[in-house]
Amino acid sequence: MLTITIGKVARAVGRRLGRGSVLPGRIALALDRHLLAKFTLPAVVIAITGSGGKTTTSSLLRDAASNAGLKVVSNAEGSNMAPGIATALIQASDRHGRVPGDVAILECEERHCQYLFPDLRPGFVVITNLSRDQVARNGYPQFVAGEIAKALTPAMTLLLNVDDPLVNALGRDGRVIPFSVEADALREPAGVPHRADDSLCPNCGLALDYDYRIIGNLGRYHCGHCGYQAPAPQHSVSAVVGTELVIDDDYRAAPQIMNPAFAYNILAAYVGLVEAMGVTPQAAADGLTHKDVKNALQDRVMTFQMGEHRGVFLLSKHENTLTYNVSLRTIADSAERGYTLGVMLHRVSRKYFAGDVSWLWDIDWEVLAKNPPAKVLLGGRFANDIAVRLVAAGIDQDIIEVDLSLDGYMDLLRRQSQGTIFFLTGFEDIDQFTSRLRKDEQ
């Protein structure tokens, strides 16, 4: 327990140094590498992992659980490895390591589950999806699936997005609650020309046949060779009515933005609320409606004003094609004519040196042909790389302008935008944008 006390002191110091999200945990873990096992956690511990959607799903779960009257503990500050989780638990616990509350909602980095779960012993694990994501660091999705599998035990209840063939394969042992997005309105249009992610059978390795896809490799699939397919879902988004998702045929939740990613995230949160926390389906759906999805550090979606132009900020993830594709589909489906597309790519990774931008070539920029922008404004160190890709995708080069300097780029957005600005970047670059935006507002 001395370690926890030291952690609390470190936290007080860390906050003054602006390193409150990991420093106390890092110090405490250096003193006791199994510190996480020393906490007495709430009766319900739910871990959320996967390549994309972890933070949004965790935020939705946290907010909706709180609204349902549950006392929640969570690593809300965004650090999802051991030091971040330790810091959150140090903060929430008393000096004996008791963490009061009804539920612990813990976002866990996918490759680190095998180190976290033995100590945290989550009763419920939500797995969102496994897509090609930061390959230089993570490797390929099959590898990540193998890493997660090492963390799972039959004692855990797995809440699985079975639309993802690799995620579905993780549910071979133990209790599984499968969920799926089936709504016609959210299905990928026919004719998407290429796939960034493997759509291969986890059993026999051959290409899967899809009845439909929702996005990328997520959808209704079966293997013509060995018969591999997803089980019937226990929970699903069955339809879209107006601005609402219909969940389990009877319950409605309105996402902040109607797109496949939000549908999956809301459904995952709904399943967590109902199955892990005992919230009624109606209360879960109500609690997930119109949530502003935020965590302490970053806004996932937000609107902003830049001079006379309204801006819609769609946060994606560099090196993750799936997130960009969802954002682009949202723009293609919802932007009014005459809009501006802004994209910033300056720092590929938050933690690692990376100069590779080959992942830009897997993003379906071609979807913009359906609703082309009037202006494309690109910023950051790799702005010209995006320009090459956009021209190859059929965007008229004459509407593209580039500024490599971030300050210059903000000026370009102010001067050259037309109509609404749809702005894309990864959370690796979000601070660069929002800090300059705030400076403008002052």
Partner: protein, 253 residues
């Protein structure tokens, strides 16, 4: 009509493989030659109709599972190649084209279309780097070292200038006539205009005019920037790089 085939597009398809085929089609179209891309998910396209065939990169588990499938196409590919068809293969499938292929000291089957001897290394990292195309002054940047194969080559294609991984200078892949095999993966044609022209001319059977490529100004600027950045960063030690980037580390397995 020029037909660009993508073989095994559902099995072997990594970063940039789709872009290579699309950009070549665009390059040919801008030169006034109609071109179409035809993809076959888990087989070769009809080689009798193709002017060039791309086979993309694969992860190690996928490659090992699908190697036999690729090997069954040996005769077809040999026939296509000897009839003058252009073949462009990246990543692990490129290793299957060689004279020998080993993994963990075990010999795997290969097609013996090229003279190279390949080894697969059991690493899983993809790393940044700068390469040089033989016969060109322009670096190849913005692509990845798939690091899973290694070859010495008498008919070199790309030469490693710098990579994030320590290693000795070597050649990565080979060009034998109209057959290109590259250990490096990514949008190779997009990231080296000389290579794009070389392949486009080969496919078209004529020297194409090199003006009027609308992305070229952007590509030149992107290339210069990436070259500067990568050369600077990869020349530094890990500690120097961390200082220069505000703490960014090399990816660790």
């Amino acid at each position: 009509m020029i037909t660009i085939g993508q073989g095994f597009a559902g099995l072997f398809n990594s970063y940039g493989d789709w872009g290579n085929a699309q950009l070549l089609a665009r390059r040919l179209a801008d030169a006034g030659l109609a071109a179409e891309v035809t993809a076959s998910a888990s087989d070769l396209p009809d080689l009798g109709t193709c002017d060039i065939v791309f086979i993309g990169a694969a992860t190690l588990p996928t490659f090992r599972r699908q190697l036999d499938r690729l090997l069954t196409c040996g005769d077809e590919l040999r026939q296509y190649s000897s009839a003058g068809g252009v073949l462009f293969v990246t990543g692990l499938p490129a290793a299957a084209l060689g004279r020998s292929l080993t993994y963990h000291q075990q010999s795997l089957g290969c097609l013996q279309l090229t003279d190279q001897e390949f080894q697969i290394h059991d690493k899983r990292r993809f790393t940044d780097g700068v390469w040089q195309l033989f016969g060109s002054d322009t670096d190849v940047v913005g692509v990845l070292n798939s690091h899973l194969t290694w070859t010495d080559s008498a008919t070199p294609f790309l030469k490693t200038s710098l990579t994030a991984q320590p290693g000795h200078p070597r050649t990565d892949g080979c060009q034998q006539g109209k057959l290109f095999s590259s250990q490096v993966i990514g949008p190779l044609l997009a990231r080296n205009p000389d290579l794009l022209d070389k392949v486009a001319n080969m496919v078209a059977g004529q020297e194409l005019a090199s003006d009027d490529q609308p992305w070229m100004d952007f590509e030149k600027a992107a290339h210069a920037q990436a070259d500067r950045y990568l050369t600077e960063m990869l020349s530094l030690t890990e500690k120097q790089r961390a200082n220069a980037t505000g703490g960014l580390k090399s990816p660790t397995p």
